[in-house]
Amino acid sequence: MSATFLGMPGSFPKNAEKAVQNSQLRYNLRKATHTIRGKRASVVGELPDWQELRAAGKAIKDHTLRNLDRYLVQMEEAVTRAGGTVHWARDAAEANRIVTDLVKATGETEVVKVKSMATQEIDLNQALAAEGITAYETDLAELIVQLGDDFPSHILVPAIHRNRSEIREIFLDKMPKVPENLTDDPPALAEAARLHLRERFLKSKVAISGANFMVAESGTLVVLESEGNGRMCLTLPQTLISVVGIEKLLPSWRDLEVFLQLLPRSSTGERMNPYTSMWTGAVEGQEFHLVLLDNGRTDVLADEVGRQALRCIRCSACLNVCPVYERAGGHAYGSVYPGPIGAILTPQLRGMGSDLDASLPYASSLCGACYEVCPVAIDIPEVLVDLRAKAPHAAAERAGMKVAGWIFNDHTRLAKAQRAAIRLRKLVPKRLPGPLSAWTDTRDIPDIPEESFRDWWERNERA
């Protein structure tokens, strides 16, 4: 059973401080993110029309969000017409109840799962467990996290914080019937996962998935994956339940021509991922249920600046280029959505009531690398800055900022403040006190000059 993020204590800076000291973690993250960065850059560079695809992707998503109510109804009609059943869930509890009841109705106590962010977001596995239903994650990285009773730390590769030898340890420890001579060679680890899950795929009667896209026009659901565990779950069980965030919608079939280019290249850095499954309603005799999930999305939609976060297609390119994510790791964000997109999505979905959630908009140097790679052009720095204006501020900081604002509002005040600082320049200690000690812990402070620029100008130029 993988652990849950809900109610996690701490704050991003505190969590990150611990992570930064973990040299193994930093090595693993650096290696993985730099590998994928290079692959992404190379396959994106192959397409001369990348910026045009990006502009189209952004506009399709914005248009969908603007007309989301209409397209959701169209989706519902199309799925129903094709033999599926559509359910609506206001929040996590409602979605979990719907899914649990559907599983119970089949009489099964075990389900297989395709990697899905939506079901992680709502803590579905815990809800199922509480009702005596065991959910088996089948994606390799999810399996590593689940077997290790660990937290996911990346959107695409939840076990990115683990290297091959750590994965081998987890398998040897937790996987029944694993060969004792298992090596840490990645093909050997993949083979172990194959053997471990084979029987389960063949005997499972119920599968739970998410979806990367839903097409309103046709009622089609789309799942992109690599390993084939997705195909196993989507195809073999009698009953398929898909839990999908309402923002995953695309209006028309044709829109996939854009997103099937944007997503794989941004995500795994491949021209195309190994497997993509598309299905419309109940297929080949299966029973199909679609659960449309709100869980805070309509609140995000109401925010003029923040709503662009709903364009996200969960590719994780922003995580892979983020210098903060690379050093802090995914767990520091305390959410299934880590990295830059998590820093703008989590505070919007959960609010900023906890120290952790209120610290997330500040978990960025605003370097802009995330915006540059985002395939749907989410201006993450813009949303971060907007959220910072809404975040609770400490009283001392508020007072300091007020004073600074007062000084900056009038150049004569600024000049006086500069002269006062210059008079005290010899007294400035090498190590600053209070919150500014955070600066001098690792850096020297520059020498304060004998004269400000404005006084120099006044003395030399105005005369």
Partner: protein, 181 residues
């Protein structure tokens, strides 16, 4: 109020007054490729799948050669029946995409069910040259969303260990493609 009504009402309120956007489609919807077969073969090979390019007349013999000694499911023909004990499957396809090295099955005649092309460890797929299109938009235009579709780009793989691609997890570990010209 039902969840459905409540969600729809919240959406209506959230976007009221927001401007709609035009969708610019200035990206390429087709590409001039001189050698579609060559590009497709190269891109499939990049995924470490096995590729053969053969004149149509030689294809049946090649299939016989490749499947000899294997328990093969042959949709639309005489072959092995039991899914769980089959060694492989031989299918045709609906469309293939040169730029991305992708085969798309719509599980029509000769393409088997979704399970038949998934459970056996070996997938042999015959692609006719005229089924190859240049890019993704051309493929989308040729496909019918009412059918179940499986897009296949190389053998089963994972990038979950240190973000490096490793071939062979749950799907067929060997993908072999015959391009019939």
């Amino acid at each position: 109020m039902s969840a459905r009504e409540e969600i729809l009402a919240k959406i209506g309120k959230a976007v009221a007054g927001a401007e709609d956007v035009e969708i610019p489609r200035d990206y390429r919807t087709t590409q001039q490729v001189e050698d579609l077969v060559g590009l497709f073969a190269e891109r499939v090979d990049d995924y470490r799948a096995i590729v053969h390019v053969l004149p149509a007349a030689e294809v049946p013999a090649k299939i016989d050669e490749l499947v000899a000694g294997r328990r093969m499911i042959r949709p639309g023909g005489e072959g092995w029946e039991d899914l769980n004990t089959a060694d492989g499957v031989v299918t045709s396809c609906a469309v293939a995409v040169a730029e991305t090295g992708t085969i798309v099955l719509d599980h029509g005649p000769g393409q088997g069910t979704r399970a038949q092309t998934l459970v056996p460890d070996y997938h042999l797929c015959v692609v006719r040259a005229d089924q190859i299109v240049s890019c993704v938009p051309e493929a989308i235009a040729r496909l019918d969303p009412a059918r179940p579709l499986t897009w296949i780009s190389g053998p089963s793989a994972t990038s979950d260990i240190e973000l490096n691609r490793v071939e062979g997890v749950h799907g067929p570990r060997t993908l072999e493609v015959i391009i019939s010209t």
